[in-house]
């Protein structure tokens, strides 16, 4: 019992609050910023899949705005656009004002819809950067990196911002440790924007980590979790992208990356931070590496995260999974 109370000789030098897969949820991003006050980290880290996946068309008709939100028809005066847009954003969707002709055209033109999505995602990135500048204490670093679901159109917005750091495919210095970030994942059935083969991923990881000086402690901020670790369990899908049912329930299979797993085994970073698979919230050890996937429940406005403390010598002192 006395040992349990023994004071650690190591002192905390760095605290990171890590979250991922907020998918356009304004509520989650605001909570992400609020985490700076609650958990008092030195670094706020959003590790990919920041872009939303739904767009609610708001129909302009005779001074009124009409939209379907979660199956309910909503009609408000045009003057209440800000309120309606905020309500839609809160649910993780983008809101776009359209007249009947524009809406009809959009339904027939997937390319136009794709452009609209990209512009909305970039606009949200700008709003979020402004919000971070407004709300965060200057001493707190705010790092955002992309995931496979994030279109490259948002990259220049974050990269150009003065308050937010965007070290995608780079190693950045966090003080006692260096952090390597990579949003690319192995091929998925949806052919999203940042995908490649396992071989290509392994090559990119090597290029990234081989640049680290010898003996430098590192953190991997790789969106894709390591294969077969319990941090990568997702429903198995058939050729039509429907969940495979076995024994009356969805079949669950590991869908993580072999390349990421091999890299963790080889380079043994102190911590590896992942997302991508919302259902597989958890913590796992590979050798001496603490692998974390905080999971995601963004559609309910719940921010799942992890607080990680790093000592002066770059070792991991402690971690805590959070739900807020």
């Amino acid at each position: 019992m006395r040992g349990a109370f023994r004071k650690s000789k190591k002192q905390r030098a760095l605290r990171i609050f890590f979250t991922t897969d907020v998918h356009g949820s304004d509520v989650c991003f605001r909570k992400f910023l609020a985490a700076a006050k609650v958990y008092q980290p030195d670094i706020l880290l959003l590790g990919g899949d920041f872009a939303g996946k739904g767009l609610v068309p708001v129909l302009r008709t005779d001074g009124a705005l009409r939209a379907q939100i979660e199956g309910h028809e909503v009609s408000v005066p045009a003057a209440e656009w800000d309120r309606l847009a905020a309500d839609i954003n809160k649910r993780g969707f983008y809101a776009a004002q359209l007249d009947a002709a524009e809406l009809a055209a959009l339904q027939q033109d997937p390319a136009a819809l794709d452009r609209l999505f990209r512009s909305q995602i970039a606009a949200q990135a700008q709003r979020w950067c402004a919000l971070a500048a407004e709300r965060l204490d200057p001493v707190v670093r705010c790092i955002i990196t992309p995931g496979n679901d994030d279109p490259v159109d948002a990259d220049p917005v974050y990269a150009a911002d003065g308050r937010v750091e965007f070290p995608e495919s780079r190693v950045c210095d966090l003080g006692p440790v260096a952090m390597a970030s990579l949003g690319v994942v192995p091929y998925t059935p949806w052919s999203t924007e940042r995908e490649c083969s396992e071989e290509e991923l392994a090559k990119r990881i090597s290029e990234l980590l081989d640049s680290l000086p010898d003996g430098r402690q590192a953190i991997m901020n790789f969106h894709c979790p390591p294969y077969g670790t319990g941090l990568d369990d997702a429903p198995e899908l058939d050729a039509t992208l429907k969940p495979v049912i076995r024994g009356g329930r969805p079949s669950i299979v590991p869908v993580g990356s072999h390349a990421v797993r091999d890299a963790i085994k080889h380079y043994q970073p102190v911590v590896s931070l992942h997302g991508h698979i919302h259902e597989s919230r958890g913590v796992q050890k590979i050798g001496r590496t603490l692998c974390v996937n905080p999971g995601s429940d963004y559609s309910s406005g719940v921010l799942r995260g992890a607080v990680v403390d790093i000592a002066e010598d770059g070792t991991c002192l402690d971690f805590l999974l959070t739900t807020g």
Partner: protein, 549 residues
């Protein structure tokens, strides 16, 4: 990453008609319980069919009891509480119930008090439910024996009345529950739902039997069942001569309200699995409202039928004579005095199907209740483990079934221990304040809802509405929280002032209650002190709720 709702759309246009959502990309989620599953958990936690037995217990415990007013008043109390929990679930939409609400809104110490207390008491309830099912085995076998015309089956029940036999039967019930709980939560919810359907069928069969038979039919059937031509009148006469008080009074009806509040206990329990509910606020509200509505209609209807067919005087005499003078009662009839309405159904039943339904209703109901309670209890442990208050291993989810297997194993092992103790040792004086604990849990929910707008208004996300609308909404939450607190305090007051019925205040029972309530804060404070001493992360951090603004 896209997974479970992948089929909903692709990276391009998924929308079609005017105003519909356009879908760009998809992602999987853990929330899989809809309104039917949540309703199943709520109804199963109540054990619909137990009401027949609970009516009987109410008649035994309260002189001059009538159930109309208590049934309606208790439903109103739960209806008010339903809205309080809705606001809590909306602000903190995840599993864990009062543990999560109190720890996030009031203080981690208060949360840990509720969390560990709920885990311990609910585990004990699991064992008492198993024990109850075991005690009903002779009734079940006698019913099955009658259905299959087998004296061997009917007589087998006579060999299963010893304490050790009851203990082993309780363990078997627990093991059945354990085996079923190893399925994923969605399948468990389906099993619970199936068992509820069986209960409802039994319930409806009994309603039909009471509705389509007259009072005279019941008197004749009882005489035939008891092989005693004047059994009905003899039981009433026996009651009179043994001092049973007949009739009704308002005072008794008010005193019995807490009993009925406890009878409905569980009707809101879908909030305990809030982390697994689809669109939690809406799903919870519909499930709870449906459950309360179903129970009020069914129970009032059945009580009216029981009064019309068996008669209040007879029910009061039968329930009490079996307790006051079991020998005299046994000479009149072999009908179990504690079986209540189910026993009346057995008396009226003339076909094997309804006999089987009535015979198996209680054990099946208890299995459903235990599955629901196990789900609830393990989610509370799960939430505490994720907050590092318990070892992280407790929160480990199985690869195959995606259920918290370690938490399930812990609850079952302790539950089996309680089964043996309940059967072999008299725990009555120790757990006498169990009713008070449940009322305190309701009080905790009311206090959390009351404190929500006062302490953590920032958790209520009302983006896009005006300041005056926001103030109005916060006032509404305060009023609902205050109303729930007052109604819970009334229940606590009635429980305390009627301790002869609800549980006596002895040194053992008070110490037990204090240990149950105090162990959570003690564990929390020790764990926090150890971690702080070791320069580890402060446990309180895990219990912070992030404001959306």
């Amino acid at each position: 990453m896209a997974s479970s709702d992948a089929a909903a759309g692709t990276a391009t246009a998924g929308g079609g008609e005017a105003g519909r959502l356009f879908i760009r990309q998809t992602s999987g989620l853990v929330r899989e319980l809809g309104i039917p599953a949540a309703t199943g958990i709520s109804l199963a936690s109540v054990a619909v069919v137990n009401t027949f037995i609970n009516f009987n217990a109410g008649l035994t415990d309260f002189a001059k009891a009538d159930m109309y007013l208590p049934l309606v008043a208790a439903a109103v109390i739960w209806l008010v509480a339903m809205f309080a929990y809705r606001y809590l679930l909306r602000a903190v939409p995840r599993a864990g119930g009062e543990y999560v609400y109190l720890s996030r809104i009031v203080s981690p110490v208060a949360g840990s008090m509720a969390g560990l207390g709920i885990a311990v008491v609910f585990t004990y309830v699991l064992s008492t439910n198993a024990h109850f099912a075991a005690q009903f085995t002779p009734f079940m076998l006698s019913g099955l024996g009658a259905a299959f015309h087998s004296t061997a089956i009917a007589n087998a029940g006579n060999h299963l009345t010893s304490n050790i036999a009851i203990a082993w039967l309780s363990i078997i019930v627990m093991l059945v529950v354990a085996a079923l709980s190893l399925f994923s939560v969605k399948i468990v919810a389906r099993i619970i739902f199936g068992l509820i359907i069986l209960q409802v069928v039994a319930f409806l069969a009994l309603i039909g039997m009471l509705a389509f038979n007259s009072h005279a039919d019941f008197v004749t059937a009882l005489a035939s069942y008891s092989h005693h031509p004047g059994a009905y009148q003899a039981i009433i006469a026996g009651g009179k001569s043994n001092g049973v008080v007949f009739g009704t009074s308002i005072a008794a009806a008010v005193a019995i309200i807490p009993f009925m509040v406890l009878n409905y206990n569980g009707v809101l329990y879908s909030y305990y699995v809030g982390g697994e509910l689809r669109r939690p606020g809406r799903t919870y509200l519909y499930a709870s409202a449906i459950s309360i509505g179903v129970l009020v209609v069914l129970w009032i209807g059945v009580w009216a039928l029981l009064r019309a067919r068996a008669g209040l005087t007879f029910m009061q005499a039968q329930a009490n004579l079996g307790v006051i003078n079991p020998t005299a009662y046994g000479k009149i009839t072999s009908l179990s005095s504690v079986s209540g309405g189910l026993g009346y159904g057995m008396v009226l039943s003339s076909d094997p199907i309804t006999k089987i339904l009535f015979a198996t209703a209680v054990p099946l109901a208890e299995i459903a209740v235990n599955l629901a309670f196990l789900t609830v209890t393990t989610r509370v442990l799960f939430a505490q483990a994720f907050d590092r208050l318990l070892p992280v291993r407790v929160a480990k989810v199985g690869d195959r079934n995606h259920a918290p297997n370690v938490a399930i194993a812990i609850v079952l092992v302790i539950g089996c221990g309680f089964c043996f103790l309940t059967s072999l040792v008299n725990l009555g004086s120790i757990v006498a304040l169990q009713s008070l604990f449940f009322a305190l849990i309701l009080l905790a929910g009311g206090v959390a809802a009351l404190m929500l707008p006062l302490r953590r208004a920032d958790l209520i996300d009302l983006s896009g509405i005006s300041e005056s609308e926001r103030s109005r909404f916060l006032r509404k939450v305060t009023v609902v929280g205050a109303a729930t607190t007052i109604l819970a305090l009334f229940t606590v007051f009635e429980l305390v002032t009627h301790s002869s019925v609800y549980g006596k205040f002895s040194v053992e029972s008070i110490i037990t209650l204090l240990i149950v309530l105090g162990s959570g804060p003690v564990i929390y404070l020790i764990a926090r002190a150890i971690r702080r001493q070791r320069n580890s992360l402060d446990l309180a951090m895990a219990m912070h709720e992030l404001p959306p603004e």
